[in-house]
């Protein structure tokens, strides 16, 4: 299960066997991860209205239905609105706070950080229920504003982490250099710090957007019919129908997400953002 190349070169059969066994396990795990996506892909093209295997006839009609079903298109639109606001607000709030977190010490810093990162460990159903009760207490209705505030709170830790990691990797001497060359703090921020943070800001925003768009559990609590997001609409669909429309929609979902992540990986280095690669 160690370095495959080294093992293959090695003459020792035992080690080679070990490498083969290790990689077999790895590929089995990969298969386990991919299996549902593949199965969904196959059933999306199944002509029959009842989920069954293997499909007897093929069709693309479920894709057509997925696009024409009103709850889905509305959910998609609502999701875009909520995601656009939530991820952008989270970016501004999270980036500013990450900067303060990295650079300054101030009163209440630890407490603020603890509260803002707590959604990472607090169950989403708890957060959803909390905002629902909060809305009831202040006699607010389940509007877009409520969903957006809830999503901002949920995705904020991810934005903060992404920007914080970029800030940490940013050499603070660059800012000192700018200061020694006569740049006031504001100009140093705009000419040196911000330009160098753009990848981190963008990836933070992208993660926030993807997570917000796909958030389900908390959204189920805080959305109403008029503000229902796509995942909520999909959940409601499964409860009513058993046809492969949702499979078709899932295929689109999987393809778009994988594409977005591949692009993000190519441009930003997902490994660094997720901290699974040793930077420098």
């Amino acid at each position: 299960m160690s370095d495959p190349r080294k093992r293959l070169i090695s003459a020792k059969a035992g080690e080679r066997l070990l490498a083969i066994a290790g990689w077999t396990v790895v590929w089995l795990v990969v298969a386990f991860i991919i299996l549902p996506a593949v199965v969904v892909g196959i059933s999306a093209f199944n002509d029959r209205a009842i989920l069954s295997f293997p499909p007897q006839a093929w069709s693309t009609r479920w894709f057509a239905r997925a696009f024409s079903y009103r709850d889905f298109s509305e959910g998609f639109r609502n999701g875009l609105i909520i995601t656009a606001f939530a991820s952008s607000i989270a970016l501004v709030v999270g980036a500013g706070f990450a900067f303060a977190l990295d650079r300054y010490s101030f009163r209440g810093k630890m407490a603020l950080e603890a509260v803002l990162t707590s959604p990472l460990v607090i169950p989403h159903f708890t957060i959803g229920l909390g905002f629902l009760i909060l809305a009831a207490q202040i006699h607010a209705t389940r509007t877009f504003a409520l969903v957006i505030v809830c999503h901002v709170v949920l995705v904020l830790p991810f934005v903060m982490r992404s920007v914080y990691v970029s800030l940490r990797n940013l050499d603070s001497r660059l800012e000192l250099a700018a200061a020694s060359l006569g740049a006031r703090p504001g100009r140093a921020l705009f000419t040196v710090t911000l330009p160098l943070l753009i990848p981190g800001l963008f990836s933070g925003w992208l993660f926030a957007a993807i997570l917000s768009f796909n958030e389900f559990t908390a959204s189920l609590f805080v959305t109403a019919q008029a503000t229902q997001t796509l995942p909520v609409a999909m959940y409601n669909y499964v409860r009513e129908y058993a046809d492969p429309t949702l499979a078709a929609l899932s295929v689109i979902y999987i393809v778009v997400t994988a594409l977005l992540l591949t692009i993000a990986n190519a441009f930003l280095g997902l490994g660094k953002v997720l901290n699974v690669e040793h930077v420098r």
Binding site: L174, A177, L181, R184
Partner: protein
């Protein structure tokens, strides 16, 4: 600062380019008056006093954690002192932000802005000062010429070698015509051959511009070869300030003696002190050395004699100590003969013999007597109880 600033000291020689003469006109001395810096409970700098003259090349030398970089950061304004004052060109700097100090800094890792090309990096300080675009172009080109990087303006920092990056950093710091140039271990990232070449080049540029330079390093040979004066630091204190020759030949305390250059230590006893001369008794003889470093030491106290390996000779007849040749370390231009001497601290004395005949002349096992001139020895009160 305006582009048309009229300088009373116009370039004397047409061969000297504008930034060169201009820099000479702006240079200023630096005065550090009892500056203290604490980080939490730790005192990084303990009441440092230092005067650096206009145009002087001053090196802050010491091991890591001695406070030299802290002092540099205080001068640059990156840190605020807990006590004491810093003057640049006679002006008190306490209330002056780093961006108003007119001090050029070359960082250890150069800190070149990775998202800007070389020309943009070098021109950054000028843009911050609102210098006209035309003038920026001219001055950037001049600065790049000064560091022999003509035509590199369009490159990105990562496309440059370490030495080239360092030149860019130097050009960037010099183009703003700083009153003082600060260099923070600028050679530590370069390999040995390049380091030597860059040292010579930096020294030449500094001479030509006459800019007051404060250079931080832990490398004693670098300090000895480049500086007008050296301030040796340890544990947050300046231990000695002097010319390289003074530091090397007349160290004021055991730390300076052992940190700068190699040294042999011979334990002895102070016999008596008359005026400026002290007589010290060591294993096989007595000798008279300067009493400067033995202030307050009573006769009979244990003292250590510090002698450089290059000051020790293998005597033909009687010597001051004797021992057996243990081994030879070939160093190219000279050979270090390591002699087992029971009377020496650590049981060893290193003798630096020019040329390469030492190993045949005194093979391992040879009994030898060692001698040195009292003028080359410095005595300190023994720090061993």
């Amino acid at each position: 600062m305006s582009a048309e600033r009229i300088d009373p000291r116009e370039p004397v020689s047409p061969a000297v380019s504008a930034p060169v003469a201009d820099a000479a006109a702006r240079v200023a001395g630096v005065q550090i008056d009892g500056v203290t810096k604490r980080f939490g409970d730790a005192t990084a700098l303990h009441e440092a006093w230092l005067k650096i003259a206009d145009g002087e090349f001053m090196t802050l030398l010491g091991p890591s954690g001695c406070g030299k970089t802290t002092l540099l950061n205080l001068i640059a304004g990156f840190l605020e002192a807990d006590g004491g004052e810093i003057f640049v060109g006679g002006r008190l700097m306490t209330e002056t932000a780093p961006y108003d100090r007119e001090i050029g800094v070359v960082f250890q890792n150069y800190a070149l802005f990775p998202h800007m090309n070389v020309a943009k990096n070098v021109g950054y300080g000028l843009r911050m000062r609102g210098v006209a675009k035309r003038e920026i172009e001219t001055r950037v080109a001049e600065a790049l010429a000064l560091v022999k990087l003509d035509g590199f303006g369009e490159r990105k920092p990562r496309q440059l070698s370490g030495g080239q990056q360092q030149r860019v950093a130097l050009a960037r710091a010099l183009v703003i015509r700083p009153k003082v140039l600060l260099l923070d271990e600028p050679f530590s990232a370069l390999d040995k051959n390049l380091r030597g070449a860059m040292q010579v080049e930096l020294k030449e540029i500094q001479r030509r511009l006459g800019v007051t330079t404060i250079f931080v390093t832990h490398d004693q040979s670098e300090a000895l070869s480049m500086s007008d004066r050296i301030a040796v630091m340890s544990q947050g204190r300046i231990r000695q300030v002097g010319t390289p020759d003074e530091i090397y030949r007349r160290p004021l305390d055991p730390f300076v003696a052992s940190f700068v250059g190699d040294v042999n230590v011979l334990p002895g006893r102070l016999e008596r002190r008359i005026g400026e001369t002290a007589t010290v008794l060591i294993a096989e003889g007595r000798l008279s050395v300067s009493a400067d470093t033995l202030e307050g030491i009573a006769p009979g106290a244990a003292v250590d004699l510090y002698v450089r390996p290059d000051a020790v000779r293998i005597a033909e007849g009687e010597g001051l100590v004797s021992g057996t040749v243990a081994t030879h370390v070939y160093q190219g231009s000279h050979v270090d003969v390591l002699v087992d001497v029971a009377a020496a601290r650590g049981g060893r004395v290193t003798v630096r013999v020019p040329g390469h005949g030492a190993s045949t002349r005194w093979p391992a096992g040879t009994r030898v007597s060692l001698d040195f001139s009292p003028a080359d020895a410095v005595a300190f009160a023994s720090d061993v109880a």
